[in-house]
Homo-oligomer: 477 residues x 2
């Protein structure tokens, strides 16, 4: 290839680019334990402004561009690849999946229609079936991989909307708790529901959706001519890790003829473990559910999933055709994903899950998830024993929340003391925690979930927590 | 790391996995010219069934898994990475972008909120601005990258719905032509519009949306109490490559107070070239527009884009907040993409475009796109000179369509002759074309667009077309 066509890389050029990339990736990964967990605050406004640039007409040196990314840009951020990352909901980003994307991108196969790449389709269909299997779904269940939980929740609501309400859905109502992830209300808005049709009910003392409250709200709505249609439960909230009472909600949904949608983006995969199975009992009653493999299957960001118990409901709303399209299947084994999901051309996400599962087996993922549960219980027990702290939410799965114990100071004082405590922990840059409001109390969350997090990092967390508490008492806030 | 935690790969393990992958990728890429373009038909039902398997509890050998993908599964498909691929809408999948994904996935940064990774955010904001710049959009324009055109079109319609109709939108109507990509009607359905509210108007003789027809339909709808709201134009249809009359439609939309949404998924990037700029005159009048970098920026599948002329309209429908979230920006430079788009956690797509643009400069992409235009005109001229063929749609950009010339046979005979001709070309397995219906005529499309396609492959196409024509005459259909 002449360099008149520089996008047409030779194999030697590709290998050189890969080697240069791998050198930097290797250094990045092998130095993770020594890297500060959060350097997002170090990016000055001036520096950021200096990065603005018009579209370049001419090119530059590849290795210099890599250095810009690896040395100048990426480090100035929160680092969710770190073993010390315990904020938001971690995952970490296994390298196997990164490699799978490299392969998929290079092969560049079209996988929206089964007949175009039937063997790769079968592979992805297998992955979808494995997810259904993990969640206890029947054989007629179907699903698809998305870019993340937000779009999976949206597709769940659109499927429910179509199945329960049809085209005239503006009187349809949705029931959920004030602990549900905010992407659900956003998904409802994008799906066309008026904001007022989403009934956000106050959760119970354990931050769980209260079935009695749902029932009351449904009855009130029916009496005023609304059409109660969708019940959204959480199987592991982001706020506190709480799991809504799924068996009761499943019964209620059936009795009231509502679609039960369960957001299990964070919690669902714990069903691979015995303890998770118990905590998530009833989840198989869901009409649709959302999983985030980029959370608790440890994948890099970019993979969610929607599963529906009755696969035909997906096709009913997503199916569409055109003259320029290839023929679709009527096959139980293969899945025309463009007929089941909103995307037509899309990245081939199946390999990201297939490759690590086939290389290590589900057993390894089970072991990692069990370890996360163990470690969350371990730190929970330590926090319970610290007199200065109050456990606000136990580790139902692997998220828990605590605050400075209420000692007759004002709520504002208590909250700012808790914030200051978290800041002291984070300032050590070995672990990173994020906070939230649980009712009116500011809470520090511990979200155990990065695959690189092991007991030594929990020891670090405890060490830094104890030190921060000591200096907190010293300043006698 | 003990192998008790096998997901925690050592640097040596990662490098070994990468080397094994690169060996296979290298072979795949360097043998592309010799590979058959379409082996999807070789996958037997029996073989596909044999691939079904339950979730594996135990792992397997990594190199064997790679061989399964590279040798057993991927080859049994249509190969859009091939230089001979001229079906549907090609792109090819540049390796730079595959490498960029590998890096993004390894770094695993959260880029939905600017403050969490501000420097990487600035990089992606630059990319969005470059796309706006290419399309002639003003400074207040905003946008975001998606997984592809379907979701970008959906987000465009949702943004338009919110801006023009608010929450009570069931009387809102959408106008488009029968040549518009079917994902638009699907996007309207997913956005909550009743199917009957999408006015699919017959295109003119050049397969373009007729402004007079739109105006009539709007008036009829207003008189029956509907709310005309959105006009969807195509800047390069999939069927024939036609570009709707954008200047006239821009005026019409303004006069009638409609939102003009332009699907430029395939055609938009030709605005980098002088000829493209002329063909796409008026595109900057669009209120929103869709681009597919995985088409005419040659990226691997998985990147579309929505741009809106008034950035505030994106925020108006997508903004959402929660206690556990970090603070959002009020900054003109950075972009909180979770406030502008439907996704919260998402893959970092910016690097896929930034890296190849910075390495080669926009000039190289311009040169490739100009080459595609040249080659489409070249084959168009050859087809015009072949007496057995009729050009049905010229190469407005890089797609054209033709059929066997009408020789007093029945329409069905003519169509099956054209189909047979295409089959003969494709059977040679050097180039791959796909067909469509243009009105009632079956048409063979030539979509020049894979970055690896150069003049030698066009020569191949002509050779195979001439041979197929000769054997067609021989069989005197």
């Amino acid at each position: 290839m002449s360099k008149h066509w520089p996008l047409d890389l030779t194999e030697a050029e590709m290998r050189a680019m890969m080697a240069a990339s791998m050198d930097r990736i290797g250094t990045f990964i092998s130095t993770l334990p020594e890297q500060a967990v959060d350097r997002s605050g170090e990016a000055s406004t001036q520096f950021l402004s200096s990065l603005k640039e018009p579209m370049p007409e001419l090119g530059g040196d590849f290795e210099q561009l890599l250095d810009t990314v690896f040395h100048d840009l990426a480090p100035l951020s929160l680092n969710p690849a770190s073993p010390g990352f315990m904020g938001y909901v971690p995952g970490g980003g296994i390298f196997h999946a990164a490699l799978a994307d490299l392969i998929s991108n290079t092969l560049n196969r079209y996988t929206g229609v089964a007949s175009v790449a039937p063997a790769l389709n079968q592979l992805e269909a297998n992955v979808v079936r494995w997810l259904c299997q993990i969640m206890g779904y029947p054989a007629e269940a179907r699903g698809f991989l998305t870019s993340g939980g937000s779009l999976a929740n949206w597709s769940g609501l659109v499927t429910a909307r179509h199945a329960k309400l049809g085209e005239n859905f503006l009187r349809g109502t949705i029931y959920t708790s004030d602990q549900t992830h905010h992407c659900v209300a956003k998904a409802a808005r994008l799906a066309g529901f008026p904001a007022a049709n989403v009934r956000v009910l106050p959760a119970d003392g354990d931050y769980r959706l209260d079935p009695a409250r749902v029932r009351d709200a449904i009855r009130a709505d029916r009496s005023r001519g609304m059409q109660p249609a969708i019940l959204v439960a959480s199987a592991g909230t982001t706020n506190s890790g709480a799991v809504d009472p799924l068996p009761e909600l499943g019964v209620l949904a059936r009795e009231e003829n509502l679609w039960l949608h369960v957001d299990a983006a964070y919690g669902g995969f714990f069903r691979l473990t015995e303890r998770g199975k118990q905590a998530l009992a009833g989840i198989e009653l869901a009409d649709s559910l959302v999983l985030d493999p980029h959370k608790t299957l440890f994948l890099p960001y970019g993979t969610g999933a929607l599963l529906v118990r009755d696969g035909k409901t997906l096709k009913a709303v997503h199916s569409s055709s055109a003259d320029y399209m290839p023929a679709m299947q009527d096959d139980d084994d293969l899945m025309d994903f463009c007929e089941l999901s909103p995307e037509l051309t899309r990245p081939y996400r199946g390999l990201r899950i297939w490759l690590p599962f086939k290389m290590h087996g589900a057993g390894v993922f089970r072991r990692y998830l069990d370890e996360k549960l163990d470690m969350a219980r371990w730190i929970e027990a330590r926090i319970r024993n610290l007199p200065q702290l109050e456990l606000l939410a136990p580790a139902t799965l692997s998220i828990l929340a605590f605050a400075i114990r209420d000692e007759d100071q004002s709520l504002a004082e208590r909250n700012s003391a808790t914030r200051a405590l978290m800041q002291r922990i984070n300032d050590k840059q070995r672990v990173n925690l994020t906070g939230t409001m649980l009712r009116e109390v500011y809470a520090i969350r511990v979200a155990v979930g990065a695959f690189r997090t092991h007991q030594e990092h929990m020891d670090m967390l405890l060490e830094d927590l104890l030190e921060a508490l000591a200096s907190h008492s010293g300043t006698s806030l």
